[in-house]
């Protein structure tokens, strides 16, 4: 079952699983789902001790949005480790090329084909996205929004910029590396620094909680945006020059 991984066009000539096996798998999964549904109905309305806990401690958290409070104060270890996971994935997909560390982070190039609609659209869209992302970050303290949403929006802006073809990002540049780690670094530094006042890692002093959370969120937004753009860069067809070489190689046979 796990050996028949196939890619692209080669998928056709490899046979799928026999119908009997598929039927058994479907039956087993249907039974499991039925059991889960029955368990859900049996379970009934659950007691939710966390609701009152969050509500009663919200004033101490430094923010008014309960989700942001949970993410960055009550369960900040989760978020810290999540930023670490993102960094690990970024390291895994990052193109390993030490020669490129001298190249600038953002370089301007001439696109092979221009899309005038996209370019004209981006002139309006990019500033709007950056402002919206800043708004989402700021408003995350009181209303829905926060670091992840803002970072994702910024990353969307970066991907659109890449697609227009006038710029390329080099994530081996030192500025880019700084962007990739700043979120985790600031998070860890703040988490360690509050030991001085409260004695526990990541337990912010109440008076400073709001501002500390905002600092962490700004850094996390930048890192999340940079890492998401890096993921797209790593998966995208290589830069125009490399692509051209690929074309020549394909024509050879």
């Amino acid at each position: 079952m796990f050996n028949n991984l196939t890619l692209g066009r080669s998928a056709q000539h490899k046979a799928d699983l026999p119908v009997g096996v598929l039927f058994m798998v479907a039956l087993a999964i249907a039974a499991a789902c039925l059991f889960l549904t029955m368990a859900l109905i049996d379970f009934g309305p659950a007691e939710q001790p966390l609701v009152t806990l969050v509500a009663s401690h919200l004033e101490q958290s430094g923010v008014e949005n309960p989700v942001t409070a949970v993410l960055l104060n009550f369960r900040s270890y989760d978020t810290l480790l999540e930023v670490a996971v993102l960094l690990i994935v970024a390291l895994a997909v990052m193109p390993a090329n030490s020669e490129q560390s001298k190249v600038r982070f953002i370089s301007v190039l001439v696109p092979t084909e221009r899309s005038f609609v996209l370019e004209a659209f981006l002139r309006w869209l990019l500033p709007a996205i950056v402002v919206t992302s800043g708004y989402l970050l700021w408003t995350g303290a009181a209303l829905p929004g926060g670091a992840f949403q803002a970072g994702a929006l910024l990353a969307g802006a970066g991907i659109l910029l890449l697609l227009a073809g006038h710029h390329s990002f080099n994530f081996n540049a030192s500025a880019a590396r700084l962007l990739l780690v700043v979120g985790l670094a600031v998070f860890l530094l703040v988490g360690a620094a509050v030991i001085l006042s409260s004695g526990i890692a990541l337990a912010y002093p109440q008076a400073w909680a709001g501002i500390l959370i905002l600092v962490i969120e700004v850094a996390a937004t930048l890192t999340i945006a940079a890492i998401l753009v890096l993921l797209f860069c790593a998966l995208q067809v290589e830069a125009p020059r490399a692509n051209y070489e690929g074309l020549i190689k394909e024509e050879r046979p």
């Binding site: 692209g8 989402l136 829905p144 994702a152 969307g156 991907i159 998966l235 995208q236």
Partner: protein, 80 residues
């Protein structure tokens, strides 16, 4: 829960499941990716119905938008 609300919830839920099934049975990879993005947007509406606004914003931006971009970029590289 009033009748019209129930209809909206049922439509959203069934729509999500049907889109998921269509996504997995689609012959063309590009079609499958587009259906996956549509499913993400339907799920976003479901989060709004359930009152999870933060999750809805994140799902629209990351779950539907960025995942779709990553998938399409990979598909272009694989030519499948």
């Amino acid at each position: 829960m009033t009748g019209s609300e129930l209809v909206i919830d049922l439509l959203l839920g069934c729509g999500t499941v049907v889109t998921a099934v269509l996504c997995l049975t689609a012959k063309d990879m590009f079609q499958a990716i587009l259906l996956f993005i549509s499913m993400g947007l339907l799920v976003t509406l479901a989060w709004v119905r359930l009152g999870a606004w933060d999750v809805a914003i994140a799902e629209a931006a990351i779950g539907a938008g960025l995942t779709g971009a990553l998938l399409i970029a990979t598909r272009r590289q694989l030519n499948c």
